[in-house]
Amino acid sequence: MQKKYSWYSLLKAGLNDQDWDQAIPLIQPKSKYDVIIIGAGGHGLATAYYLAKECGINNVAVVEKGYIGGGNTGRNTTIIRSNYLRDEASSLYEHALKLWEGISEDLNFNVMFSQRGVYNLGHSLQNMRDIERRVNANVLNGIDAVVVDANEIKQQIPIINISKNARYPIMGASYQARGGVARHDGIAWGFARAASMLGVDIIQDCEVIDIEVEEGRVKGVKTTKGEILADRIGCVSAGHSSVLAKMAGLRLPIESHPLQAFVSEAMKPILHTVVMSNAVHGYISQSDKGDLVIGAGIDGYNSYAQRGSTKIVEHAAAAILELFPIFSRVRMNRQWGGIVDVCPDACPIISPTKVEGLYFNCGWGTGGFKATPGSGNVFAHTIAQDKQHPLAEPFHIDRFTTGGLIDEHGAAGVAH
């Protein structure tokens, strides 16, 4: 039996040669569950956790072809904020941010959520108009946001270059103080452990090879560990969503692209907040370990390869040096890519499908990490009640047919 983590357990394990209980049991799947979640990333594990905790459905399996949090959850730049322009999007991301604020206590797992603030820079008059509009929309929606000018930014971040001679001079920014970063795989481990304590089976190294559909109803999945039956199946597999959809005879309005990030060698604290710029397109923060975490845009071509082009890396590095010339001689340590599922309107799909009992939570594109707890929460309710959670309603897949798109892509005026 797994035990609660506490000061006492830390002390006891410390004195007993780090004798920790296994956080998540390694188990084989049963033949039938009430709900199967495909994909044990942050969103999938969060879905399983909230199904068990809030919806009274404990007979849940999460199947994962690799290991928990080994996909985009462990590959992103961990930026968390909720300052989106559209009501639909900001309500969803704010729901997530509120859950983040209590998640370490809730899960009994330190996810190292650090509300160190997020700056979204503006480099032109139009950027600043967009930023003011977005900040006003945020304030009307009860989300903390302020507009700051270049001098205020310089006061807070002395190493930033606000020279008027820069190619794209910084004119100001929006600032969300409640935004920040978290430990990316911490959130996956935390949800996995808390869900498994509530009776959820987390089955790693178990790839879904087919989704069985009978008379328009989902029946179960064929996996590398045998057949598993369930009346309801939730697909939360990010870059591979189209592959799963195809197994069930569906198509999605999604394309998979590589998104890259890289980190420098660790150094002493120099950047205490998160800085993002859509105009020069780069975003940067410093992890607790001390390395600079840098990301940029996607490659334009489709890919499932978990790697991208060097020109994107070069572009991101150029953007960061434009903002922080002091980093010009910082040595980079590691670089990697993840496969993101991009929707035409840059908003997720949290929706039932034409196949009864089959639900998709996908299309988070380049910005899903910040939504992890909120995404799992509304998706769990959507599956449990076979009816979309009110916050998920605007994100029905039918919006691509009705035309009710949520135009967040450019309107947010910020990188995701």
Binding site: H240, S242, V243, R251, L252, P253, I254, E255, S256, D299, G300, Y301, N302, S303, Y304, A305, R307, S309, T310, K311, P344, F400, T401, T402
Partner: protein, 94 residues
């Protein structure tokens, strides 16, 4: 980094000269007013998003500025063949 052969310039050039332009062989419906919303949505938004060999369009932005077809693996990024527009109209055509 990809090395792409432009079928018009007849030269293999660095990827940075080119821009990707999406899935190939998506034909605009001949009578848009005569089809359902589902069919129109499928044309505008829905994509095959192949995992494996995939026909797509590229444009030689910093070269001849012409669009052409490329068959590329979305798993390994290997380019299998290129073709000018009109040389083929579907994935399966020989």
């Amino acid at each position: 980094m990809l090395l792409i052969h432009c079928p018009y310039c007849k030269e293999s050039r660095d990827q940075s000269e080119f821009s990707p332009a999406g899935e190939a062989f998506i034909a605009r419906p001949e009578s848009p007013e005569g089809i359902s919303d589902e069919e129109w949505a499928d044309y505008v938004f829905y994509r095959t998003n192949h995992k494996g060999n995939h026909w797509e369009q590229w444009v030689h932005t910093n070269g001849c500025r012409k669009y052409f077809l490329v068959e590329r693996s979305t798993i390994s990024h290997q380019i299998l063949q290129v073709a000018p527009f009109g040389a083929r109209n579907s994935e399966t055509e020989l």
